[in-house]
């Protein structure tokens, strides 16, 4: 996994846009829709008994002889949870989907620590969620912990819903990023649904190899599924099959996208060979995930 420091310095300029009202802890940089104790003034309201008297604007009282309370925006610290699909299918493709997934996870994690947020990275394998590092805070921790990403072994099956549902995902406290190829007929929609119900911001990143986006295989083939050797696709790959494959690809990506968008989430399809610069400063900013 290689992410240049120069690129990380550029990424620092970006900011994650959280859609849901935050319920995170104080001390972060993300502004909550509720009023809090930050320095940023936002409005006045009438004093009500029981309100904090230190928030009364005495200047306004002198002028209007009525008690007004000064309201400030609340800034919260969020918890970014990154789920990496560590199934065997991620190890394929030129440029390697797994490497692209780890690069993306690292940059997302760095972006979060730069925003004073907590970051947890999990890997999904065989229906289990395994922690890579959790509650990482601050850049120093990032540099200490990020190496753990390289220790992830991409092997086995991926059952995203089965892995995420029993886990602690928090409630309204940040962004959940699922990085996977989503090439599975296992249910991943339950996980997205679950995260949405937990008022988490969702970003599904589908990483596909070039061969998967534009297959060049022709002729009589036995295509064996890397995750399940019993899954064999035996066909004479012709022009018609390729057309059908492209239609299936459109269908599959469209299904994920639509599902995510319908639940207020975001979806991004990236190639394993696509540059991080294009992804973060192009696609994600255009989508409004970053600014």
């Amino acid at each position: 996994m290689v992410v240049s420091e120069a690129f990380l310095e550029q990424v620092e300029l970006l900011q994650t846009l959280i859609k849901n009202n935050l319920a995170g802890r104080f001390g972060g940089t993300h502004q909550s829709k509720t009023f809090g104790s930050s320095c940023e003034f936002t409005d006045y309201r009438d004093y009500m008994p029981g309100d904090d008297v230190t928030k009364i604007d005495w200047n306004a009282f002198a002028r209007f002889e009525k008690l007004y309370l000064k309201l400030y925006l609340d800034e919260r610290q969020v918890h970014t949870r990154i789920y990496i699909d560590a199934s065997k299918s991620m190890k394929f493709g030129k440029g390697r989907k797994d490497e692209q997934a780890l690069r993306l996870a690292a940059v997302f994690a760095y972006l979060s620590v730069c925003e004073m947020d907590k970051v947890s990275v999990y890997m999904i394998r065989d229906g289990h969620l395994e922690e890579v590092f959790v509650n990482m805070l601050g850049r120093e921790s990032f540099y200490n912990e990020i190496g753990k990403l390289d220790s992830i072994e991409f092997d086995g099956d991926s059952k995203i819903t089965e892995a995420i549902l029993p886990s602690v995902v928090g409630y309204g406290d940040g962004l959940s990023i699922i990085i996977s190829d989503f090439l599975t007929d296992e249910d991943f929609e339950g996980a997205i649904e679950h995260l949405a119900n937990k008022r988490r911001d969702i970003l599904c990143v589908q990483v596909l190899a070039r061969e998967e986006l534009s297959p060049r295989t022709r002729g009589k083939m036995h295509l064996i599924d890397s995750e399940d050797a019993n899954h064999i696709y035996r066909k004479n790959i012709t022009k018609d099959i390729i057309r059908a494959y492209m239609a299936a690809l459109d269908y599959a990506t469209g299904r994920i996208r639509n599902f995510c968008l319908a639940r207020g989430g975001n979806y991004m399809l990236v190639s394993s060979e696509e540059s991080l610069n294009g992804i973060f400063f192009g696609k994600l900013t255009e989508m409004g995930v970053l600014k």
């Binding site: 991620m90 493709g93 090439l183 061969e211 009589k220 083939m221 890397s226 004479n236 059908a244 269908y251």
Partner: protein
């Protein structure tokens, strides 16, 4: 259906080979991929296909097999046989002189060939074609040929002749072909008209729109005058189509500008005479008369007369101290160019046709020409006889040979005394020993006294072994004059007896002494090299115009004689009407089995299409990668 080349089907071996290769090579390839999810999902998006579309999977193999099969069939050339659809054709093509008649840039002969070509091309394949050609000779050019291209190729090679020939022999041949197969369709391609025909299709190629003037053979009369000659050239002009005015031009030898011209009004089908009177003509080799008008048949627009005397003239060198008798005898025999020198002046001169040595023997024989020795006083190397001294002749000792040898009889032909066996009085004769075969004409006491033969170099040789001045009764007799005449003919016989011929006649060329080879060049430039080992070369004149006869002599000189071959009178008329042309017998329908083999092209196209489709398929597959 049959196959023209069944071995072509061996190409079908390629089919099982292709299938074998397909089976061996076209196995499923195993490949581990990230996930088969999308591939399996793609099944839902595959369009429903007709059952026949299952073959799409093996379209590559099918296309290759089709290409191989069609190529094999193309090689095997399937042929459909259609019973009795082919015909049997016998063409009789007139290639005589009148077929040279040209109108609109095409000769009748070419038009005739075009007609035959058209019949052959339009006939069913499998038909048989026979062509009987009447040209310089009547010949069957091809017989029952079924290959159209071959028949047309042989037809195209034919060239029109110039001779006058009737079609009877060809007609007999056609009748034979008809008798052997009564389904034979006989075509006669000619420019002649017929009053009636039966069982024959006459294709008349006569085209009479062009004028046709004809010059008859010219007559040249030479009247000697004091220092030269007066020449009268006369002939007739005939127009076979229209009345017209022509200008007759006269040329001598190689003149390019007319020596004289005569305008002449010619009425159709009426001979119009012309005459040229020319004075002061010293000598001439040829007289040429031309028509100043272009017409359809140019072969008879020129008439040439070659002076036979000029062509046969010879030069004689007489080496003698007292040449009176011999010179008179030679000139009397027609030898006009006699040069006389004294023996002291003889230095081995060359360039003469005859050397006469009287009472003088050169140290060596002349390099060229024939040799006469008169009263030899010694022998000379190569002469094949030896001098054995002078002998007194007994009274009335001279006797003619009674040999029956044809050579001897020819030389004694016309000699009055030879028949009467008259004996002449001589004083002396020279006794000679003969070293080779000589023809002895006269003897004295049994010794040869006048004999002919050849020198070792092959030059003709005559020996008079007596002194003419001592033999006045004989020398002054008619016998001697005739003998000299005969001996001159023997010594240098005329190369040609006449110079005017009609095309088709046979020219006789005497192989004169010293002639080592001969070349005859026809008016069209065709060269012939006849065998000169025979005394007379016979050569048939098949073209119209001037023939060059070149005699290559032993001394390296070349003697050229010209003769003129004119178009036969019968061929000058554009369309002569003849009586009936009948093929006897009852024609039968049917014929040979027709053949339809154009499938060859179909299979070639199909094979190419299959191969091309395979190429496109491969390219598409490559493009999709």
């Amino acid at each position: 259906m049959s196959l023209a080349y069944p071995l072509g089907l061996l190409g079908l071996i390629g089919v099982p080979i292709l299938i074998l290769i397909y089976i061996i090579k076209n196995q499923y390839t195993e490949k581990v991929i990230a996930s088969t999810y999308l591939w399996e999902l793609s099944e839902r998006f595959l369009k429903k296909r007709l059952p026949i579309s299952r073959i799409v999977g093996i379209i590559s193999l099918i296309l290759q097999i089709l290409a191989v099969v069609f190529a094999s069939l193309a090689l095997a050339q399937p042929v459909f046989t259609i019973p009795d659809a082919g015909g049997v054709y016998c063409f009789v093509l007139d290639g005589t002189g009148s077929m040279n008649y040209e109108a609109g840039g095409t000769t009748r002969f070419d038009a005739g060939k075009k007609e035959i070509r058209s019949v052959i091309k339009n006939s069913m394949k499998g038909s048989a074609y026979t062509l009987v050609y009447v040209g310089d000779a009547t010949e069957t050019v091809f017989e029952y040929v079924s290959d159209k291209d071959r028949a047309i190729a042989m037809l195209d090679e034919l060239e029109v002749g110039y001779r006058a020939d009737d079609l009877n022999k060809a007609w007999e041949t056609a009748q034979e072909f008809f008798d052997s197969d009564p389904s034979t369709k006989v075509y006669l391609i000619t420019d002649k008209r017929y009053e009636g025909t039966e069982n024959v299709t006459v294709v008349n190629v006569a085209e009479e729109r062009a004028d046709n003037f004809s010059l008859s053979d010219i007559e040249v009369v030479t009247t000697p005058t004091e220092n030269s000659s007066h020449i009268t050239v006369s002939g007739t002009v005939m127009s076979y189509v229209n009345d017209g005015d022509v200008e007759i031009s006269l040329y001598f030898d190689d003149e390019t500008e007319p020596h004289a011209t005569v305008p002449l009004e010619v009425l159709a089908l009426i001979p119009s005479a012309y005459t040229f009177e020319v004075d002061d003509v010293a000598d001439f080799r040829a007289v040429r008369v031309t028509l100043g008008t272009e017409d359809g048949l140019s072969l008879d627009d020129e008439a040439v007369y070659y002076n036979v005397e000029f062509e046969n003239s010879s030069r004689t060198l007489l080496v003698s101290e007292r040449p009176f008798f011999l010179k008179a005898a030679l000139i009397a025999a027609g030898t006009s160019q006699v040069t006389v020198i004294d023996p002291s002046e003889y230095e081995g001169q060359t360039g003469y046709d005859l050397f006469v040595f009287e009472q003088f023997m050169p140290e060596t024989l002349p390099a060229d020409g024939a040799v006469w020795f008169v009263n030899p006083q010694s022998g000379v190397a190569g002469s094949n006889f030896s001098y054995q001294g002078s002998q007194s002749a007994p009274r009335e000792g001279l006797a003619y040979s009674n040999s029956t040898n044809s050579g001897v009889r020819n030389l004694l032909e016309g000699v009055p005394g030879a028949a009467a066996r008259t004996e002449y009085e001589l004083k002396q004769y020279v006794k000679c020993g003969l070293g080779a075969k000589f023809s002895i004409l006269l003897t004295c006491e049994g010794n040869p006294m006048l004999f002919t033969g050849a020198t070792e170099s092959g030059a003709r040789e005559v020996v008079f072994a007596f002194d003419p001045r001592d033999s006045a009764p004989f020398i002054l007799s008619a016998d001697f004059n005739v003998l000299v005449d005969n001996l001159l003919d023997y010594t240098f016989p005329p190369v040609v007896e006449e110079t005017g011929y009609v095309c088709g006649e046979t020219l006789a060329v005497n192989v004169v002494a010293g002639c080592t080879s001969m070349r005859i060049v026809s008016p069209n430039g065709k060269e012939s090299f006849p065998d000169t080992s025979v005394p007379i070369v016979e050569y048939t004149l098949n073209e119209v115009g001037t023939y060059d006869i070149e005699l290559y002599m032993a001394d390296g000189s070349v003697r050229t004689i010209n003769v003129y071959s004119s178009l036969a009178e019968a061929e000058r008329a554009p369309s002569e009407t003849e009586a009936m042309r009948v093929i006897y017998g009852t024609p039968e329908s049917g014929g040979r089995d027709g053949v339809y083999d154009d499938l060859l092209y179909l299979f070639i196209i199909l094979a190419l299409l299959a191969a091309a489709e395979y190429g496109v398929y491969c390219y598409e597959q490559y493009q999709l990668r």
